[in-house]
Symmetry: C3
Subunit: 247 residues, 3 copies
């Protein structure tokens, strides 16, 4: 059993956050909200999303799992705008999701959850550095790094107490250094890891420019990016595996 | 003889309404206004347009016919914006149309009207249902139906007094039901016909979102869509042949 | 030695003015400002640009020459917006240009100036007609001419005291006639030359719509187009060779 009403913006933010990594996913319809975990086909990027029942105008669920085509769901959500309410209701018998937007009813065939790639275990890492930065600065970093390289290094200079982003190209280099004044918060510690820019570009698309993003970083460890959606009633964690540091 | 001044917006609306179906057309330069009728190459969609002399800033004509390339005319009209006046003058001898926009003169070679596909006879149908709906609802219906199918069914539920739009895809379905409160007006009667979405998508492009559109509908009959242009001093009728209902 | 701070808009206007003709250029870092001259590979279009030191927030240079990839520089400048300051500093040893935008540092490898096409000598022509026109009218002329032809004739009717733009296509023609009232200024004289529209379209992209453009024109002579950038603290001259007038 699942029946809910959610604003178009909240549904779109939810879909986008997962859709940048995978085309289809399992959605856990828990009593207290939605939960989605997914990993990309190459096992490099993961997403863990929770959307609390309070993020919905109304929400009733009792613990089922549905499999959903995210592209399709994104197209449908695109028929609504702003805070327009979208009605969702699961038909258990036909395994179809009824989606209503102001008189328009879309009947979406669900995917057998067993046919969807298994959900990842997202490890609890105790990483030495925590950086809280504006989404806009991640966007700047990724855009600039993309001009010169396929990789991007994220680091903390523990002495200078700065967060450092670097990309080295064949001829040109990019470097962004943010100190305590430029950051929302910084828990300095030894941290430097290299990442694939392709993945970070995709994740960046889902990060609101005005979001506060908490980055957990270590030495050649995966990075975790946390940010809120739905005005704090939902949260997203991206995890990205590191590339071997080239020297 | 033909000499007229018309606002850019009015000329563009006129061209668009016909241009979604055909690339070239005959324009009747009647004493009391312009008239255009055209049918697409497959004989499935027709348009009947009238633009009253009062829609022009000035208008003089005495009954000739010119053949026009609509793409070309659209490009030229695109040089003007908003209510900027466009001057049109026919040179009978050279069979060219002189188009002036604020000092810029474009000389458009006309097409021999005899070389243009014959104008259709648009039948007078006495269809059982009349629905008056906002252009925005046609846009919603067509956009949603296009996600799942190549066809769209338009129907009236005479008992429930609703206008119903349906599209059935291989796995997903779309349905829009509008009752009296959602409609501008409804003359209920037995009506259900299936149409090619390609044509309706093209026609939809020419229908202003804020227009009141009168839909005449029957049982496996052509549909007629009527709407005004040029603030009521012009009107357009689209007619679309039905597809055989599959079942 | 070169160290300067310039607003994003001024840097972008500078890059655009040269970038429409060539991909890389030499920049002369004079004590009193920047100077760039370049000619396209076919030797048909030339540009001569001066940007006074007063156009910068701060400016220090002592006469060197650097070679720059303009596409690359345009991408970097695109990271800043409006009047956001861009810091430029030349590292003489590494021959790299350090570009800083709000904490983001881009290190741009320079090109050996000797490997860049030689700078043109832009001849001093004493042309009989001077026309001062708004950039928007050049845009209109070029856009309309492009609908019918690959060439455009620019002329002055010395008797009527008008500036005339003409393009003749296979079937359609375009003509724009601007008299003293439409022009900012006119020094009439016998002038008519035919030009390649491709080049004029590229130059048009760099001309602000609200700029006053001074056109120097003769009989089958090159045309010169002068306009200001950086609120008058910089100026650009385009020169375009004529095509042989076809009759």
């Amino acid at each position: 059993m699942f029946k809910a009403i959610v604003s178009a913006d909240t549904l779109k933010d939810t879909i986008d956050s997962v859709g940048v990594l995978v085309d289809e996913c399992k959605i856990h319809l828990e009593e207290d909200g939605l939960a989605i975990r997914a990993v990309d086909p190459a096992n490099v990027g993961m997403v863990d999303l929770e959307l609390d029942a309070s993020a919905f105008e109304s929400y009733e669920a009792d613990g089922g799992i549905i499999g959903v085509n995210l592209d399709r769901l994104e197209d449908i959500a695109g028929m609504a705008s702003g805070d327009q309410p979208i009605h969702l209701e699961l038909d258990e018998e036909t395994r179809k999701l009824h989606i209503q937007i102001d008189g328009l009813e879309y009947t979406l065939a669900l995917i057998d959850p067993d046919s969807i790639r298994q959900e990842p275990d997202i490890p609890d890492l105790d990483l030495p550095a925590d950086i809280v930065v504006e989404g806009a600065d991640i966007d700047r970093s990724v855009t600039a790094a993309d001009m010169v390289s396929d990789h991007i290094a994220l680091a903390v200079d523990a002495d200078a107490e700065t967060f450092v982003v670097e990309a080295e190209g064949d001829t040109d280099d990019v470097r962004l250094e943010l100190d305590r004044d430029d950051l929302v918060d910084l828990q300095a510690g030894p941290a430097r890891s290299l990442f694939s820019l392709d993945y970070l570009k995709d994740m960046n698309k889902a990060i609101p420019k005005d979001a506060e993003v908490t980055i957990e970083l270590g030495e050649e460890f995966p990075v975790k990016l946390h940010f809120d959606i739905a005005e704090g009633q939902g949260n997203v964690t991206f995890m990205l595996a590191p590339r071997i540091q080239s020297d």
